[in-house]
Homo-oligomer: 210 residues x 2
DNA sequence: GCAAATTTTGACCGATTGGACAAACGTTAG
DNA sequence: CTAACGTTTGTCCAATCGGTCAAAATTTGC
């Protein structure tokens, strides 16, 4: 039986696969796909390399599984951007949630950034498929807000890009942010400061000029 | 004689080193430090591997040289941010120049992003030294504008971060941007659209609330 | 308790990598 | 021509890597 190909049946397989994915997230996000070695992942997972390769066919297999799972949770905040509430409140919530994810899941953000930087060789179909479809859908929501005069008329695509860029920056470029802020201002409070700034920038910058 | 350690004397050495650095920028920015091989760089430079290693002691040596040179040009736009002009005009110029750099020198941007993502193992001293000093200096300029009521009071550090993040996003996450925009909107015009959006966002978002 | 199935590992392999080295090649000055 | 110097490359090496395999250890079903 090839236990790695089928959905794991036993609880041990489920747990071990979870353990490996957690270890792989740690190693991949810190060193990139090519910089990470199977041995490092195995050690981080507390098992031998052949044992790890008993649960996953290959290094690539781990990465693909990790990436597929990641994208789902990564796009969740955008999925929740909804038409029902007040536009400004919706946008503020979205920015805040994205910033919280950069703070609480920096490894996921860096793993994703690494993949995109390398040209997204493994997730390009998803970018052009589900992700584009989701963005297109939310762009229409934003366009509705603009037509209703609730927020300033501007390019919704680049609005989304700029929210992604500014929030993920605090995960992907964390070492730079902390180096520039220095020991006194670079503590945990930097996320509070960032939240305040981004809220002001976007809410002020998108206030309708009516 | 170790011609690689001393400053190159002959014109040939100067030219070959330049050729290698150009090739290394291409390869490093596309595949990261660990993903790039000396053979690939040598082939891109049109020479054999031992020949390349005649001009640079090691792969690391190439990367360090490249990185040191890059940082100088990379921070040039911020250096030019000056106190003399109108604040809003200064900020607009800065944003526009950074965006032009993302468009014209995406390899440099990706090389830098890669280094930071890996924890900046090779340039941390520069980040904490020259770069922090430069940012601190420009933060004071921006604070002056705020005290004079020329722009809204907000956190200057995070203002700079957000300009970095939004502009470099169009180089570092280029494949994602183009995948989401699709074939029709993802052409060269995307930089024009981005410039318009960012100008509106920042200039509107920073308008003094007096 | 025991046999079958599952899990774990030590040993190993072929491929790739960064780098060393000496011999060969080219160029220039006398 | 030729000696000296700078340049180029074929060959090689030790280390590292992803992955295999058969055997051992453990767990599970009865």
């Amino acid at each position: 039986m090839d236990s790695a190909t089928r959905r794991p049946r036993t609880r041990i397989q489920q747990e071990k696969r979870e353990l490996i994915l957690e270890a792989a997230l740690e190693v991949f996000s810190a060193r990139g796909f090519r910089g990470a070695t199977v041995d490092q992942i195995a050690e981080a997972a507390g098992m031998s390399k052949p044992n790890l390769l008993y649960y996953f066919r290959s290094k690539e297999d781990i990465h693909v599984t990790l990436m597929r799972r990641l994208l789902d949770t990564w796009l969740a905040p955008l999925r929740d951007l909804d038409d029902i509430g007040d536009p400004m409140t919706e946008l503020r919530s979205y920015i805040r949630r994205k910033l919280e994810m950069a703070r609480d899941f920096p490894r996921e953000s860096r793993l994703f950034a690494n993949e995109i930087l390398q040209g997204a060789p493994r997730i390009m179909p998803i970018l052009e498929g589900d992700m584009k479809a989701l963005v297109d859908e939310k762009v229409e929501v934003i366009r509705g807000w603009m037509r209703a005069g609730k927020i300033a008329r501007t390019d919704p695509y680049h609005l989304i890009f700029s929210i992604w860029a500014t929030t993920q920056h605090y995960a992907d470029f964390d070492v730079q942010v902390r180096a520039v802020l220095g020991p006194d201002r670079g503590g945990e409070g930097r996320f509070e400061d960032a939240a305040r700034f981004l809220e002001q920038l976007f809410l002020n910058g998108l206030r309708p000029t009516a």
